[in-house]
Amino acid sequence: MQDIDITPWLQKLKEGDEEAFRHVYDATVQDVYRIVALLIPRRQDIEDIMSEVYLKLWTSIGNYDPTRPFRYWLHGIAVRQVQDWKRKMWRKLRLFERQTLLEIKEESPQTDHPALRNETSEEVRMALHKLSYKLRVVIVLRYYHEYTFGEIAELLDLPQGTVKSRHHLALKELRKYAVFLEEQKGGDCLVH
């Protein structure tokens, strides 16, 4: 999102301008990929969800309030599309043979520069995907996007107390995976 100044294109996008859509797409595709990839492990699912995100962006840009950050609004779309996707997948599991789905090899998102991939980062992603989705999304929004509990509650349409308790549970779970090597002395966030 930092690479291209999209603010002037948003107005044209609101008017249904496809060229503006391309500019906004180029400026946001990495950001959307990252949030979806942190929330969903399978590459094919990431691609399908991203298509849904951009279709939703196109059809609902009229609802975007330009006095609020566009990125926050876009993240809301991404999170809701991931949730919709999860609901669809659950129905698929019920409707089709579970075995078939289980045989699909889980793929991690690829990077263009495999040499730069960091083992710790890989561990972080694996640890994230061990969390239930409800806990994972709170962690991603809190630590990747650095949203406040209030902002996360608004994005997920949940009471703030629920977000805080999920955050607490998520930290407890993450401690088990020993990804975080350094311990904080004192306080209740010790890594064991």
Partner: protein
């Protein structure tokens, strides 16, 4: 060494993990193709309709109103109240003069505007193109919407936080537009501006210049097709408008520009007509916080040419190519000064909100080191 809290470690590691995730190019292209295909399908497909019958009905209503108006004007007596009323009637309204940019207003004075009434009727609403102007760099069309002979609300934008928006989603309000030149969408761009009142609007269509010819790919004469969707009306309106260039333009081939730090710009060509000024320009680099350069143009008297439209796209080598359309310069302009600037944002680069000045406009930060005055040769 002080150990990091688990929260700090999480933040650092998740952000690092995210940074290493790069959307593969093939995936990005597939998602774009899929999105592009889908958005093409979101416009309602057009079907044959009772357009002819409705058009005739609307045309009869128009003719009746015109005769009434003509009779009143012919009587020679137009009271101030009646003059105001007449001014509000779509037949009399000169949308370009009342609401157009400086170029359109001048075009009216110079007799360059073609008056017309090309209409399409859907669900009792008639959308008409009533004025057109084409100078080889932009085609501007005045649109008028009527509901059974009465003006209807088409476009009533408000400026909110520096952004023009249309708050009303009422029936007949503008929804989306697709413009084609000789049946092709190509690099056609458009911008919609307010009209003389809520029932009218002005659409300006331009095309990106070809990199090698430096010219916009717009022939001197063509049919401009506008497909316009209005809220609450199932089928889009189709207006096929014949346009013909009727200005003599002055084209200057230039190869000048400036560089400062990582930012640079180069002006390749400038085209002036009595109704617009077009700059064909390239930029490279951006600020550390990812802001792009924009350009104001002033003459030697300090008169600023207002923006009409901007078209920017990326070249293979990462530079950006811009077609900038401004209001016309006076014929005797001796020099222009290009003033590059950046918009000022209140928040972090990736969560931008434009800073608004006391006049409700986006705040600009000029870059004097990149400013350049270009003398214009006498014709």
């Amino acid at each position: 060494m002080t150990a990091l809290s688990i929260e700090d470690q999480l933040k650092e590691q998740i952000q690092r993990a995210a940074r290493e995730l790069e959307c593969p190019k093939d995936l990005s292209e597939r998602v774009w193709e899929s999105s592009r295909r889908h958005i093409g399908q979101t416009s309602v497909p057009r079907k044959p309709s009772g357009q002819t019958r409705l058009f005739r009905k609307a045309a009869l209503a128009c003719a009746a109103a015109f005769l009434l108006t003509a009779a009143v004007i012919a009587s020679g007596f137009v009271s101030p109240v009646m003059a105001e009323t007449l001014g509000k009637l779509p037949f009399v309204q000169n949308i370009f003069r009342l609401a157009g940019d400086f170029g359109l207003q001048s075009a009216v004075d110079k007799g360059l505007v073609k008056e017309m009434r090309i209409s399409d009727t859907r669900n009792g609403f008639t959308l008409s193109a009533v004025q057109v102007l084409y100078d080889g760099t932009r085609a501007s069309v005045a649109l008028q919407l009527d509901e059974a002979g009465h003006p209807a609300s088409l476009f009533s934008p408000v400026k909110d936080n520096g952004i023009v928006q249309q708050p009303s989603k009422g029936k007949g309000s503008f929804n989306r537009l697709e413009a084609q030149i000789r049946g092709a969408k190509g690099n056609v761009a458009w911008v919609l501006g307010p009209g003389a009142d809520a029932s009218s609007a002005i659409v300006t269509v331009s095309v990106a210049s070809d990199e090698s010819t430096r010219r916009p790919a717009m022939p001197d004469q063509y049919t401009l097709s506008l497909e316009i969707s209005l809220n609450g009306i199932h089928e889009p309106f189709q207006l096929d408008i014949p346009v013909r260039k009727n200005t003599s333009n002055r084209v200057l081939s230039l190869n000048t520009g400036k560089t400062f730090g990582k930012l640079s710009w180069k002006l390749d060509e400038m085209e002036s007509s009595p109704v617009s000024t077009r700059l064909f320009l390239q930029t490279s680099g951006m600020t550390a916080d990812g802001r792009e350069m924009y350009f104001d143009v002033v003459d030697e008297q300090g008169n600023e040419a207002g923006w009409i439209d901007i078209y920017r796209y990326r070249l293979q080598d990462g530079r950006k190519q811009l077609d900038l359309l401004y209001e016309p310069l006076a014929a005797d302009t001796r020099s222009i000064t290009i003033k590059p600037f950046l918009y000022v944002y209140k928040d972090a680069p990736d969560n931008r909100i434009a800073e608004i000045d006391s006049h409700g406009n986006w705040t600009k930060e000029y870059i004097p080191e990149l400013q350049l005055t270009i003398p214009l040769q006498k014709q």
